[in-house]
Structures are given as structure tokens and as C-alpha cells.
């Protein structure tokens, strides 16, 4: 099951402007350091990879470790090359891939 993700972009942007992209996804980010009530280790399940492309071109990506908080929030920047659509992808340890798209209004 894909997790719930949100992308926040400026209402509109101009070509050449540097904009901030904010993204949030709901995820437990289980560290693998914890034990359950019986003392058995709880398997790690974190989002380990995050990628962002705009109009098909890579803009930003990240690899996360267990030191990233639950429900990871990430903010990054991009110089607007023209109109296009963001495609953000999150992949976790169980192979769950969440893809969220958001068009950017340029004008």
C-alpha cells in the first residue's frame, strides 16, 4: 500500500526563479533499534530513497538512514527551467514505492 504523500509548491513561478519544494509523507520510519514487548527486535522499515524529477530531469535526491524522523519531511530547491511537472518518489525497506506528481504553474 502506498503511503500518503503531499507536495507543496508556490502558487506560480517565473522562469529562472529559485523555488522551494516541500514534501511530506506518512511513514513509521522504524529504526530497527527497538524491541517489542517480548524482547524481540523490530525489523527496520524506513524510507531509504527519495527522488525528485522535474519535466523528467533529475533535480534532487536523498538517501535516508534510521536517523530521519517518522513521517519524513523534506524541503529542497530548484531553478525553474520552464513549465513542467514534479515527480517525487519514496521507496521503503519493504519495497513500497510511493509516487506523487504536482504540476508547476509558470507565468
Amino acid at each position: 500500500m502506498a503511503a500518503k504523500a503531499r507536495i507543496k509548491l508556490p502558487e506560480s513561478a517565473k522562469i529562472g526563479e529559485i523555488i522551494e519544494v516541500k514534501a511530506l509523507i506518512s511513514h513509521v520510519m522504524e529504526t530497527g533499534n527497538r524491541k517489542d514487548g517480548q524482547g524481540n527486535p523490530i525489523a527496520r522499515n524506513i524510507i531509504h530513497t527519495f527522488t525528485a524529477t522535474f519535466a523528467g530531469n533529475p533535480v534532487f535526491s536523498a538517501e535516508f538512514g534510521s536517523g530521519i524522523s517518522a513521517n519524513p519531511f523534506i524541503a529542497f530547491f530548484m531553478t525553474v527551467p520552464g513549465p513542467g511537472e514534479f515527480e517525487l518518489t519514496w521507496i521503503d525497506d519493504q519495497g513500497v514505492k510511493t509516487v506523487e506528481r504536482a504540476p508547476l504553474k509558470v507565468g
Binding site: I18, N33, P58, F60, A62, G67, A75, T79
Partner: protein, 164 residues
């Protein structure tokens, strides 16, 4: 990036308990790291190896990297961070990677961020876990192969890493 076999070994807490730490510390002592000997910040062996994994033999310059973190974090489970690296972010001169490292968490490598000239700005923000009071270190790698770093101490009231 393939992890050094010793890193994987050190990640095992049993290793530390078995007294392997002393042996590994001897190995780290040979590493040109001011951190290896600097215990003031309670820096972990995991950090020494994660740092070495990032910079290799290079000694990063402490410049151009700004970490914005709270001086005191009430809750170590979600500590907001903002990191910015001064860079023209052109095709010829840009920040390629930025590594966020913890000096006292069970796992030292918190995140690695990859930028492109299209990024416009080598800056990133998010939320991290901090097990206890410690230095947070950020190391940037430029397109020219130069390493830059910055650090910031955060006092943690309630530790977060779920290791209790």
C-alpha cells in the same frame, strides 16, 4: 556506495560489548581525523567510520556549510534541521552531495542529499532523530572534489532513536 566491512561490524552492538571497541579504536587512531581523538563531544566510533567513508583521506575545510538546528531540542525524535552550502551551483562549480552525520546516534549516517546545477541552491531541510546531546556534522562534496564541513551542537532533553 558499498560499506566498509568494519563499518558493518561496528554497527553491531555486540561488537562493542565484546570489547572490540578497543581494537577498532586503535585502527581509527591511524585515521587522519581530529574527531577520532576528540572525545569532548562524545563522538562515536560509528561516526568516525561514517566520516571516513565520506571523506576518505581528505581533510574537509570548515567553511561555507551552515547548519541551522535548535540549541536545545526538547524531543530528540523530531529535531528540525536546515543546512545550506554556499555555492554558485553552476555546471562548473556546484555541490554534488551533502552528508548529514550524527556523532552519537546508534547509526551515524543520517542522510545523503544529491544536488544538481538545476537545484539552484545547495540547501535542504527536514527533521532528524537525536539519541542524546551531541554535535551534528554536515559534509559537502563539490563538483571539483573538494570537501567542506560544518557542525552544530544540540542539547537533547528527551532522546529519540527508539533504542531504549
Amino acid at each position: 556506495m558499498t560499506r566498509h566491512w568494519l563499518m558493518r561490524l561496528i554497527d553491531r552492538r555486540e561488537f562493542l560489548l565484546a570489547g572490540g571497541a578497543t581494537a577498532a579504536a586503535a585502527v581509527v587512531a591511524g585515521v587522519p581525523l581530529s574527531f577520532a581523538e576528540d572525545d569532548a563531544g562524545g563522538r562515536s566510533l560509528q561516526f568516525a567510520w561514517a566520516f571516513r567513508n565520506v571523506v576518505g583521506e581528505a581533510v574537509p575545510e570548515e567553511a561555507q556549510v551552515t547548519l541551522d538546528l535548535p540549541e536545545i531540542a526538547e524531543n530528540g525524535n523530531t529535531v528540525p534541521y536546515k543546512i545550506e552550502v554556499e555555492s554558485p551551483m553552476t555546471e562548473a562549480d556546484h555541490v554534488k552531495k551533502l552528508h548529514l552525520l550524527s556523532t552519537a546516534n546508534p547509526q551515524a549516517a543520517v542522510a545523503t542529499f544529491h544536488f544538481t546545477p538545476q537545484s539552484g541552491k545547495a540547501a535542504v531541510a527536514g527533521r532528524m532523530r537525536l539519541a542524546k546531546t551531541q554535535d551534528v556534522v554536515a559534509v559537502a562534496e563539490t563538483s571539483g572534489g573538494k570537501f567542506l564541513m560544518g557542525k552544530r551542537n544540540v542539547k537533547v532533553v528527551i532522546g529519540g532513536c527508539g533504542n531504549e
